[in-house]
């Protein structure tokens, strides 16, 4: 289990109890977090679950695979801490994770 805070582009924070094994995207969708579309449902096919990961957690969210890297390369407003949230799996190590959602996923 991990407490994850989703911050939208206006700065509003929403805290969710995420289960180990699900993804940061799934925890968001289940809890109706705005700002994450996840059209493909987690297949790493659409790049609509883009988030910015809090600096303190960058080394805990795991490495990007090649697919994700090249998908993100074409997303809008990409930063160094950009990730696709469907590719981050929740574990105890992510307790306290904060991610910010971009203004638009398209």
């Amino acid at each position: 289990m991990a407490k994850i805070t989703y911050i939208d582009h206006d700065g509003t924070e929403r805290v969710v109890e995420a289960q180990n094994g699900e993804t940061v995207m799934e925890a968001a969708i289940k809890n109706s977090i705005p700002g994450i579309d996840a059209d493909c449902g987690g297949a790493c096919a659409c790049a609509t679950c883009h988030v910015y990961v809090d600096a303190a957690f960058m080394d805990k969210v795991g490495e990007q695979e090649e697919m994700e890297k090249s998908m993100l390369d074409f997303a809008e407003n990409v930063q160094e801490n950009s990730r696709l949230s469907c590719q981050i799996t929740v574990s105890d190590a992510l307790d306290g994770l904060k991610v910010t959602t971009p203004e638009s996923q398209h």
Partner: protein, 416 residues
């Protein structure tokens, strides 16, 4: 018709389009009665994993659900599951449902999806002969997917090939039968067909094109055991999976006098010939604005988009963007991403080398990009989505030149 004073909205169906419509209605501020009538027992769920990871048993059913049960309660959505709608009475604006009962509506969204085509042959009713469309199908198929068994898959479309990949990876002996001269003949070019045929054969799948199934034979206890092919070959068949396309569930609309033609006809707002009735997803035939024609799209993107379009029209909001159609398919470690509709292309350009299992086939018409099939190549897919929407002219030489990045190509085309 202005429906902004609608107080009772009924959504028929429990798939992607229905789930999106109710979500968009609630997120869009609709606070009236909202009822979803679904034929299946499960909460609305995603179908794509059924022929992929879920079939392999890689995750639990709950992970397929768009929303947990609590969401429907919290959002005051009345779920009527395991229940089919049986008639639409447009004059008194009611929907009749199974097990008795009538629902009143001010606006109705039909998102009833599609159903698999049946195989009209002898033996099609034997046990262990399946279609692959919903959760219940997978629950029946999965216990039979035991290493060493023989599975005969009829139809080499995306569902058939995805299932073949799963079966092969699970240690079954998979044979795919396709009537056409090549796999994926209905949906893609010979370049892609050849690539997938080679890939599946390399993985050990027996692909037989220009071959159909003549009949199935069973054991004494009524289970399938042999498949007799059009060329006389007899194959062992412990499992038969039929994936020969789908038919739109348009009958409710048709019987109610709503215009249909291989799908429920809708306008750009997903509105049918009855201004209070909308249709979304597999069952709807819609204007394909970037392609100058109408048609049905069997895809997640289409279901989501039309769910949003219908909700926006009912709420009197401005029309959401009609995006470039897109699709994906996962087979083995190959991710195919498709943007656009390739029908009617007059030129194919291949970028990269299929042997590297990372390449793209671009489809052009009169010098304009209309579609791409991208294998393990997200940049080609994502750049093409934008290029197709822009309608910009683009040269075949540049597309084929892997020394120029897709970002540069996209920038050049939009500047031209």
């Amino acid at each position: 018709m202005d429906l902004t004073d609608a107080k009772r909205i009924v959504v028929l169906g429990g798939g992607q389009a229905a789930a999106q419509a109710i979500q968009s209605l609630r997120m869009g501020g609709y606070d009236g009665e909202l009822t979803l009538v679904g034929a299946e027992a499960a909460l609305p769920y995603q179908r794509p994993p059924l022929s992929k990871a879920y079939m392999k048993g890689e995750f639990a059913e709950e992970r397929l659900y768009f929303k947990p049960a609590a969401w429907y309660e919290d959002n005051n959505v009345d779920l009527v599951l395991s229940t089919r709608a049986t008639a639409i009475n447009r004059a008194d604006r009611t929907v009749e449902i199974e097990h008795g009962g009538k629902l009143d509506y001010d606006a109705l969204i039909i998102a009833t999806g599609s159903r698999p085509r049946n195989l009209p042959i002898e033996g099609a009713n034997l046990e262990h002969v399946y279609a692959l469309r919903d959760l219940a199908d997978v629950e029946r198929i999965r216990p039979q997917m035991v290493a060493g068994r023989s599975i005969v898959i009829v139809g080499a479309g995306y569902i058939g090939l995805e299932a073949a990949a799963v079966a092969q990876q699970m240690g079954l002996k998979a044979t795919v039968l396709e009537m056409a001269p090549r796999v994926l003949a209905r949906v893609t070019s010979p370049v892609m067909s050849e690539f997938y045929e080679n890939e599946h054969r390399r993985q050990g799948v027996d692909i037989r094109t220009e071959t159909s199934l003549s009949k199935l034979e069973g054991t004494e206890d009524g289970a399938v055991s042999k498949a007799v092919l059009s060329d006389g070959t007899i194959l062992d068949a412990d499992i038969v999976l039929v994936g020969i396309g789908i038919l739109p569930n348009e009958e409710l609309a048709k019987d109610a006098g709503i215009s249909c033609n291989n799908g429920i006809l809708v306008d750009r707002d997903a509105r049918t010939s009855d201004p209070r009735v909308f249709a979304a997803g597999d069952c709807a035939s819609r204007p394909l604005v970037h392609f100058g024609r109408s048609g049905r799209l069997e895809s997640v993107h289409n279901a989501i988009e039309q769910g949003k379009l219908a909700a926006a029209a009912i709420l009197g909001k401005s029309r959401p963007v009609e995006d470039c159609p897109w699709f994906w398919s996962d087979q083995y470690d190959l991710k195919l991403q498709i943007a656009g509709l390739s029908e009617g292309y007059d030129q194919i350009v291949v970028r990269g080398n299929p042997e590297d299992r990372k390449f793209a086939a671009f489809y052009l018409k009169n010098g304009t990009l209309i579609a791409v099939d991208a294998i393990n190549s997200p940049p080609e897919f994502l750049a093409s989505k934008k290029l197709i929407m822009s309608g910009a002219k683009i040269s075949a030489d540049i597309l084929a030149d892997t020394s120029i990045s897709m970002k540069e190509i996209a920038a050049k085309a939009s500047a031209a």
